[in-house]
């Protein structure tokens, strides 16, 4: 079973800072990482390859530095990496991103055949989770989002059973193959990479394609031009009147806090949600 995993390099949002004067992101302050959900997707692909054979191809759209994220995937165990990189892809929202990735997948499919596509549940920078379902719609295959477990794969019948996380639980879905899954963290633990993988990754050079390497691309659907959504304005969230500050020594602060919650003290009697 050949598996294609879409992966994205993202700024480590824990570290990125906003310039308070200009309200813009100081990207230079943030190191980049492989989107954590995508790491779980690659890990799952490795697990599936162990059972069902086949090849793992990772695909990313991004600037040349995104090679690093692809190398990370090789470390986890991917076989091959492709990067589509071109100024004409830049500024894409999820609709334009899914179009570009779809065009690359079409080309890869001709060469290799692909039975399963994996994406992360969402990318931690944009945080939309829209790219995966978009790719699936374009490929005409079923998308299953928020997958926490692959229960069964039957390659002869071309069927797969997966668990999908929903509010307060999960559902068990049967789908035909090929299909696309978006992967949750609960799926697996990303294990430490074996040494040979690390060594291979260190030297690995992904195959880089530009727009011209893809077939029948409608340039109007790419990048900024192909993106229906644009950012209107950015602003710091409304400052409310602010908190009433409780001053004094720690002891005084504690006393005052007890008195401001005094009227609500009956709330502390029973645990919420366990209404008697």
């Amino acid at each position: 079973m050949n598996i294609l995993v879409c992966i994205k390099q993202v700024p480590d949002t824990k570290i990125i800072k906003v310039n308070p004067k200009t309200n813009t992101l100081d990207r230079s302050s943030a190191p980049t990482i492989l989107n954590p959900y995508d790491a779980h997707a690659v890990e799952e692909a490795v697990r599936l390859r162990k059972e069902h054979g086949g090849k793992i191809i990772v695909l990313s759209m991004g600037p040349p530095q995104a090679r690093l994220a692809i190398r990370k995937c090789i470390e986890i165990g991917a076989d091959e990496g492709y990067l589509i990189s071109d100024r004409r892809f830049a500024g894409a929202d999820t609709l334009a991103t899914s179009y570009a990735l779809f065009k690359a997948i079409e080309k890869l499919k001709e060469e290799e055949g692909i039975e399963l596509v994996l994406c992360g549940k969402h990318a931690i920078d944009g945080d939309t989770g829209q790219t995966g379902p978009g790719i699936a719609r374009r490929m005409g295959i079923p998308p299953l989002t928020n997958v926490i477990k692959v229960e069964e794969v039957d390659l002869d019948k071309k069927l797969m059973k997966v668990r999908r996380k929903i509010e307060n639980g999960y559902e068990l879905i049967q789908t035909s193959l090929p299909c696309l899954l978006t992967i949750e963290k609960e799926m697996n633990e990303v294990s430490y990479s074996p040494l040979p993988n690390m060594m291979r990754a260190a030297r690995y050079e992904p195959i880089v394609w530009t727009v011209d390497d893809l077939n029948d691309v409608d340039i109007k659907q790419l990048g900024l031009k192909g993106s229906p959504t644009i950012v209107g304005k950015m602003w710091p969230p409304e400052k409310s009147s602010g908190a009433e500050m409780i001053e004094g020594s720690t002891k005084e602060q504690v006393e005052k806090l007890l008195s401001v919650t005094y009227e609500k003290r009956e709330l502390f009697g029973v645990k919420g949600g366990e209404k008697s």
Partner: protein, 345 residues
């Protein structure tokens, strides 16, 4: 695309096992405002099997019309059936704005429909407005990385779509005298043609953590540093019979599970009292708790953004004040619980 042909505000009404869930009603409230400003109808879209009767309920919450497709094939949510049904409705009736609850299925559906009808979609919005003159939907959300909000526009495509977090918009008071129109439509898909099947739905209603229904939440952030700090916060929560909440950074530090996370990528909560201890107050956290009735923030940095969102602020070292607070609450509540003796506070 002739933008002028598109009129009306639509809300996707999600149901689970035949029951309409709250987020759709909340969005009818928000959608009502938009529709009134634009002077158009507010319409609900309800898909399922044996759901027609529930459609009437939606008028009380502000809908003028409800598009219903009632078919066995739609009984359980599936992307392939719902995407086709909604896509057909959009092509036929051409709404200008379409909002969905940002639940697992709501997000899944909206993403698929956006590609199906080739339009823009803004995820996880927390603030909705409209520029009436330009009939432009202004969907805003916290933007990545810090204390910043961004408005996302979709100028040249219709419908303008967004998903909205549950519990962010207030559920309107129902007005059962309101009337409306039900429009029934059909779906062309047959079960035999489908590639997915829902074999089983398992809902665990007795979740260990039930943040969304909690009256009191004691939430901790990176400021409590380690397991010892977290244990200290848990003790306070125990004394107050509160549920423990957390910032994402605390969850990522491995100190507690994702079930506890409050915020944009966690849960939206509206308790009566929310303690934020050692939480800086990043916008992604604040959007998940800002509608709490009383917010009490404890932070050792007087400049922390959390003090903008809080009602009461205490600048103090959590490691000093939290154990004292636990002790004093314990004493005060002991009297209360023992026999209703007024606590000495």
């Amino acid at each position: 695309m002739n933008l002028e042909e598109y009129r009306g505000v639509w809300v996707f009404i999600e149901q689970q096992e035949g029951q309409i869930i709250d987020v759709g009603l909340e969005l009818l409230g928000a959608g009502r405002d938009l529709a009134d400003k634009l002077e158009v109808d507010l319409c609900g879209v309800l898909l399922g099997h044996n759901v027609k009767d529930s459609a009437k309920e939606l008028f009380a919450y502000g809908a003028d019309k409800v598009y219903v497709i009632d078919d066995p094939v739609l009984e359980k949510y599936r992307t392939e059936t719902h995407m086709t049904a909604v896509g057909d409705l959009v092509r036929k009736y051409k709404p200008e704005i379409f909002i969905y609850g940002a639940t697992s299925n709501g997000k899944d559906l909206a993403s698929a429909v956006a590609t199906e009808v080739m339009t823009g979609l803004t995820a996880d919005t927390t603030l909705l407005d409209v520029n009436v003159e330009k009939r432009l939907f202004e969907a805003s959300r916290p933007a990545f990385g810090g204390n910043i909000m961004a408005t996302i526009l979709c100028k040249k495509h219709r419908p303008q779509m967004a998903t909205v977090r549950p519990k962010v918009m207030p559920k309107p008071e129902p007005d059962h005298t309101r009337k409306g129109e039900i429009i029934e439509e059909k779906i062309s898909i047959k079960e035999e043609d489908l590639r997915t099947k829902v074999l089983e739905i398992v809902r665990d209603m007795n979740k260990a953590v039930n943040l969304e229904d909690a009256d009191v939440i004691v939430a901790a952030g990176k400021g409590i540093k380690d397991e010892k700090g977290f244990a200290m916060v848990k003790e306070l929560a125990d004394v107050l019979n509160a549920t423990v909440g957390a910032s994402r950074d605390l969850v990522e530090a491995g100190l507690c599970g994702h079930d506890h996370q409050v915020g944009q990528t966690g849960l939206t909560v509206t308790p009566k009292i929310y303690f934020a201890i050692g939480i800086s107050g990043a916008v992604q956290h604040v959007v998940g708790m800002q509608n709490s009735e009383m917010i009490i923030a404890i932070n050792n940095d007087p400049e922390a953004a959390i003090f903008n969102a809080a009602h009461y602020g205490i600048v103090a070292d959590a490691f000093e004040i939290v154990p004292m607070l636990t002790e004093e609450f314990r004493k005060a509540l002991k009297g209360e619980k023992a026999g209703g003796v007024t606590a000495d506070v």
